[in-house]
Symmetry: C2
Subunit: 245 residues, 2 copies
């Protein structure tokens, strides 16, 4: 094959460009409660799918496929899958935690005008297996990189995205006709929203709070933590966040 | 817990903000060959780690940890792990493909001034298991979302990132002292670069080419493909890409 010779020279990002990526990262939300029924234009959907398609992949395997779901009967079948999976999931919580769980809105399958299923084809020949021999999960990881690219591009397009993981994956495959060897990695609800919350919804509802980043940083080896050094690394970031607010 | 009441109102992105996120997505590269030895400032590293920490996670579990590796003896041990893993990996290729494989530069462990290992702690109590009962891989997926956030933020900071997947994960854990129940999801080389290629390196070297997105889009069900409709969705995207060039 012919090697591309043209290369990017002016590769640095302006402050305005950097603001865009950090805004998307800090203002992205996992949306469940705030979907509007307004249709998503095909061209906008095309842009976020193309963003997904430009994710990194192991050996340039590109193991993903995208099922764009608008059909209401399909969404109703998946919603029923969610409802039964969620009844089982709820049963593990007791007392106050169960009461709180039952107040959480965990999926917008019927409210969001578009749903997306992103799958991983473990047998895709692209890449000829490069990079896949030491860790068999790398193709799944590539597919998740595509999901996260899509999620960030969607935020920049004012589209909310919610990842629904409370679904029986085998039933999901049966509903969508996904071939048996493939893995449905992500089921996403996509649509315009009435608002983007300033904090994750699970934090606003009191289910969980954000961990301090400084507790999660290690230096050179796992057992070498240094919270003062880690705190010094992240101390200027509040300014960065304010760019996006 | 107290619920946050402040909400984002002016949530839409300006064209300049959108340009930033699409530039990062389209100009991000998996870097192996072009690392410079210039040090990465602690504050810049802090910003990309904070970007990772603001990834979505199942149930707000935040299962990730970050090991920041600069120590040369540690990097040499990991490089030796890569070399032996890569000898085994190379052995599956024959003829012209083997010759091409042997010309590929697949890791910059010693050249990049910073390496990062991002792990997943399957037992982290945060999130109380919400969203994790139907698919046990969701915590790994959350960790990959953190990797992709970091990768895009790094691009905006002019830092190259290369994901090294040709490593024996058990040996990697032993070198870094990662506790047995955790999974090392990603091993990344990070540093400033002499250039960002305009195309993926594996495409430039003739190993693999990009698939057409229109072949990967399905409508409502797996067996319902419509390349004309898919092509219409993505036909305007070349303009979008040109924003970032």
């Amino acid at each position: 094959m012919i090697q591309a010779k043209v290369r990017t020279k002016s590769s640095s990002f302006s402050p305005a460009d950097r603001r865009g990526i950090y805004r998307a990262i800090y203002e992205r939300r996992d949306v469940r409660s705030h979907f509007l029924s307004a249709p998503v234009p095909e061209a906008v959907l095309g842009r976020i799918l193309d963003a997904a398609h430009h994710a990194p992949s192991v050996g340039f395997m590109q193991p993903w496929d995208f099922i764009v779901i608008r059909d209401e009967s399909v969404r109703r079948a998946i919603h029923a899958n969610f409802e039964s999976s969620n009844r089982r999931a709820a049963a593990v919580y007791e007392g106050e935690q169960r009461k709180l769980y039952d107040t959480l809105k965990l999926a917008g399958i019927l409210e969001a005008p578009v749903n997306l299923c992103i799958t991983c084809d473990h047998k895709r020949p692209k890449g000829s297996g490069l990079g896949r021999q030491s860790d068999s999960a790398t193709d799944l990881y590539s597919t998740v990189c595509a999901v996260q690219n899509l999620w960030l591009a969607a935020r920049a397009e004012s589209l909310g995205v919610g990842w629904v993981s409370i679904l029986d994956p085998e039933k999901l495959k049966a509903i969508l006709g996904v071939p048996a060897p493939l893995t449905p990695v992500a089921y996403l609800c996509v649509g315009y929203v009435s608002e983007f919350l300033t904090s994750p919804e699970l934090e606003e509802k009191g289910w969980e709070c954000r961990e301090s980043l400084t507790k999660l940083i290690h230096f050179d080896r796992w057992d070498a933590q240094d919270e003062r050094r880690a705190a010094a690394m992240v101390e200027t970031i509040e300014e960065r966040k304010s760019i996006g607010r």
